[in-house]
Amino acid sequence: MIHTVLDILSIRKDFPILNRKVNGYPLVYLDNAATSQTPQKVIDTIVDYYSRYNANIHRGVHTLSQEATDVYEQARQKVRKHFNAAKSHEIIFTSGTTHGINLVANGFAPFLNKGDEIMVSALEHHSNIVPWQMLCERTGAVLKVIPMGLEGKLIMEEYHKLLSPRTKLVFCNHVSNALGTINPIEEIIAAAHKVGAAVLIDGAQAAPHLKADVQKLDVDFYVVSAHKMCGPTGVGMLYGKEEWLNKLPPYQGGGEMIAEVTFEKTTYADLPHKFEAGTPNICGGIAFGAALDYMNGIGFDAIAQYEHELLEYATKELLAIDGLKIYGDLKEKTAVISFNIEGLHPYDIGSILDKLGVAVRTGHHCAQPIMDFYKIPGTVRVSFSFYNTKEEVDILVAGVQKAKAMLS
């Protein structure tokens, strides 16, 4: 019997979607790394916003606008506190991780010269590769890759060798979306700073499982998406050190981001508004704050401990299936299992699991370079959240066995 630090049955009641059936079976949702489900408290926050104080922010003289502005700014405070940023204007609301990465990539263009180097890890999501390739094309900078080893970990000796005074930027995810590997970002950040390079960490896959302290990490930029941590889609956070955010030019022009506009010259607003052109996702930002309240109410230590129990149990049960191979390291990772069964296509396994009500991700997980590395078309990825149960692991394992029997 699994030892549990959380009252899972009571937690599950917070998520209305977990009651639904899929193809006649109770939903077993194991695609949390793609998007997490939304608790009633967050849904209520969204309904409350549109029912009571929907208004544009920062510019209205009327009461609704003032209320919306206050709650939106409170949400920014919640995000600041959660990630322990020193100042609330270091928190920029974005449309999500990809937006945050593009904002930084775009902003760095004026500081790069031909021959400068940008370094990315081999474990990246496409969204963390393509913007840098585009930036290199624009500036003549060169993209370098921190290689990975067979166990799905970065080869840190190679990283240290690649660093030089030419390195201007280093980009790495905190946790790999395809494999769940937790990268040694403390070491990556400290070493990059020694050669004068800035560091952006993609925290999208880490944030649902562990609490990052941006000051302690001494990271220059950290980006996340709300929808992977019980919040809505279309909103996320870019944390940037104040000195960097002041240096970077604005990403988009529009309302909200200006101080003064004439046809001759526009002066930009102060942080964070300089980077929040146009009407932001007000409701999304507020709901992001509510999602952080919800998760902190459960507690990240308890979440990490429980998810680890689930991970260990699922790993053991899945490995008992003949011909099943798990990719990546088995220890230093979040609750993600990426696997294949010898001779079977991941798409076929995923299709049969779906028929049994079990939602998993199959394919290359937007990380084709990793799949190329292992010479496979893709994997089946199961990713757990704190509301999943041991019983659901059993349903998954039985489903995989059934798929194997049908397909072999």
């Binding site: 193809n23 079977l344 296509h345 991941p346 798409y347 076929d348 299709s351 049969i352 028929k355 199959t362 394919g363 290359h364 078309p377 893709g378 049908m406 397909l407």
Partner: protein, 140 residues
Amino acid sequence: MTIKEIQEEIVDEFSMFEDWMQRYEYMIELGKSLPMIKEQYKTEDNIIKGCQSKVWVHAELEDDKLIFTADSDAIITKGIIAILVRAFSNQRPKDIIDADTDFIDEIGLKEHLSPTRANGLVSMIKQLKLYAVAYQTQLN
């Protein structure tokens, strides 16, 4: 047999199955049993890019009829391809152009033909029709 008659025959066969599992098992059998495409035609050019499983299609004209051969690296996809090839191959291009694909709904495989399903089958049907259009032009 006309395309319509073949499709009705397939619908009849599938009506015997009681649940999805039997349907899938049958499709998997179809997928396994068919030596579909000659290796020489499994080229990059003949790949239909679905997101997850690869699908190859080759077409050639024999007299006034179009012969399709195809393959996939995923077995369920391969089973559906086998059904499509059975329905559309060895037919005149004009009839292929005019044929509809509603029978896929009737045999309970609708979800595989949703345009957002990342298996390349929608593109595959489009490709079969494009071949038919191209050969029809040639015949004219």
